[in-house]
Symmetry: C2
Subunit: 359 residues, 2 copies
């Protein structure tokens, strides 16, 4: 399934075989929670060289509901996307006060965000939903502790995550779908190590690093990434959930991560920020009013090939959402180009130089 083709230090370049083609690693997934990245069409996503997206299985099970997905065929058929799709189980939603009612050993009591009714999600149910959706990679249901939780809650959630992972593995029936485990352990080194070791032992198709990027410092996160990866087998893909800035992605590739997802590039675009090879810029800055250059001269994306900073600024300033839309397309393409560069750099043993450029 997963083959490492080249490595430099802990960084690796490889391929992950899925039902919708081989995905070259490292790769980055834009977040299409309900089946679409905000304002960006599938065609535009493909043009950013996005090969895989991540959708939220729990939300799909409520709307449109599994009956409709079954009638359509699969989540791919329903949303009209022919490439890779990961689905998140819903575990991450336990961090949201909007969603969570209560966690118990049996599962999670959720608030249905659409009609406010109660729903109960068990590890088995989370897997059944994903089996039915037919995503390429399903994720186990994990018990995610808040960033600043007590030691006993951190311990409970890490241990429960292992028990839930066992239940998920048992419940998984879709042979065309890969299943990834997720480790927890908050910021406690020993807990993190133990959790990663236990998840690794369950021999999933890949291992994910959960419960990070939720408020901890970069140093804390990096330490946890290092510890987790030290426990994960070499020959399994490693997926860090929630990282999306250029610097963070490169750092974590250097720590041995293969897969990333984040809404960060599109979210900062909606907040008028463009990523460039010289750092982030706020397009509303007055100096861009007469700047007829593209956001980034080296960028091949639709936005940079067709529009100037001055025009995008004009759109944003006059409240035309096409401005933020063009920024979203650019930022996603920018991250994809960077990850591709990282892949090539690892293959050519030049990855250390690339990391230096962005650190």
């Amino acid at each position: 399934m997963f083959k490492i083709k080249a490595s430099q230090g802990s960084a690796r370049a490889g391929t992950l075989k899925t039902s919708h083609g081989k995905l070259k690693t490292p790769f980055f997934m834009p977040v299409a929670t309900k089946g679409a990245v905000k304002w960006v069409s599938n065609h535009e996503l493909e043009e950013t060289e996005t090969d895989c997206i991540i959708c939220n299985a729990y939300l799909f099970s409520i709307r449109p509901g599994l009956e409709i997905i079954k009638k359509a065929g699969s989540i791919h058929d329903f949303i009209g996307w022919k490439k890779g799709i990961f689905t998140d189980s819903g575990g991450f939603q336990t961090l949201s006060k909007q969603f969570l009612i209560e966690v118990s050993e049996d599962g999670v009591k959720f608030r249905n965000p659409f009609d406010k009714s109660e729903r109960f999600l068990t590890p088995e149910k989370a897997i059944q939903i994903q089996n039915t959706l037919g995503s390429d990679v399903a994720m186990c249901l994990d018990d995610v502790p808040l960033h600043k939780s007590t030691a006993s809650r951190a311990k409970e959630s890490a241990e429960r995550t292992t028990r839930w992972a066992e239940r998920c593995k048992k419940a998984h029936k879709n042979k065309k779908q890969l299943l990834f485990g997720i480790c927890q352990g908050a910021l406690n080194e020993k807990l993190r190590e133990k959790s990663a070791k236990e998840i690794d032992k369950l021999d999933f198709d890949g291992n994910a690093l959960g419960g990070l990027c939720i408020g901890e410092t970069v140093a804390e996160r990096n330490k946890m990434v290092k510890i987790s990866n030290s426990q994960f087998q070499e020959n399994k893909p490693r997926y860090l959930m929630g990282v999306g800035s250029p610097k963070d992605i490169l750092k974590c590739i250097s720590l041995g991560v293969d897969i990333f997802d984040s809404c960060f590039p599109a979210r900062i675009a909606r907040h008028r920020t463009a990523m460039t090879s010289k750092g982030n810029i706020n397009i509303l800055n007055a100096r861009f009013a007469k700047d007829f250059e593209p956001l980034d001269k080296e960028c091949d994306c639709f936005t940079c090939q067709n529009h100037s900073k001055a025009f995008i600024r004009h759109l944003v300033k006059t409240k035309e959402e096409n401005g933020q839309r063009l920024l979203s397309i650019h930022n996603i393409a920018f991250v994809q180009a960077l990850v591709k560069k990282a892949r090539h750099a690892i293959e050519e043993q030049k990855f250390d130089k690339l990391v230096k450029k962005y650190s």
Copy 2:
């Protein structure tokens, strides 16, 4: 400049030569007031077979301002659109309480919508702005009476529109740019006839029908279109401002109109309505929840080639604006396909059949 290649009854098919290529008539212009159709990129507009758009010169003169357009080169360079652009003078904004302060013989006192300051727009200034923007077709500044204005106001505005048209013609200095006159006259047959005759006499590159589609009945509008066109020379293009529904476009082509603009297709898309060959549909209707067919089986647009009604409904229902975005692309493409059909039907002397199909 304008050549009629075929006609059937009063309907005509021809070409209008502009600085950015020959435009086949009849044609329809989506409204890109500030340089963009809401949520739709230039590339997507081109894919809908849109050959010409209309922008608002008055708003462009405020934001980004003429200095910036001059630095960019032209409005085409600034917004990154290589095909035809009409600019409206700002006359239509006199109907808006948000904009208008006062009309006098000299010109219009406007409210700057961005900073609430006062601006004074004269016919000369309106033309200078458009000369600088470098649109393919500039429009005269007209004095537009409200739908239900008094007889004396209707008379005043029609007569003033002629005097302003003379001033516009005199002020127009951009030889690469065509200039169209606009007739007024409210719903008064004699006034309308007189205004159209006077505007026609000034020998513009084309004649527009103004002050319609602002609350009158379809029958009233059609009568005014007929009267105006009866006064306009055959060999000048005729532009009806503000019409955008399939039925209305076909009817007005049959009355001799060549050019249309309207925000209608994109606006009803934002209100969740799709145009189809079987009439309009509201995508939120429950019967589309399991409808995996495209919006219109005969449609070649991006939306219909890639997505089902069920998916678009899902996006709209879960408040993902990509739903309305996909509807906008479809509706504009639908109108463009219809206008193209009309053109071909006129060339093949089958236009009467097409009108019947949609009436």
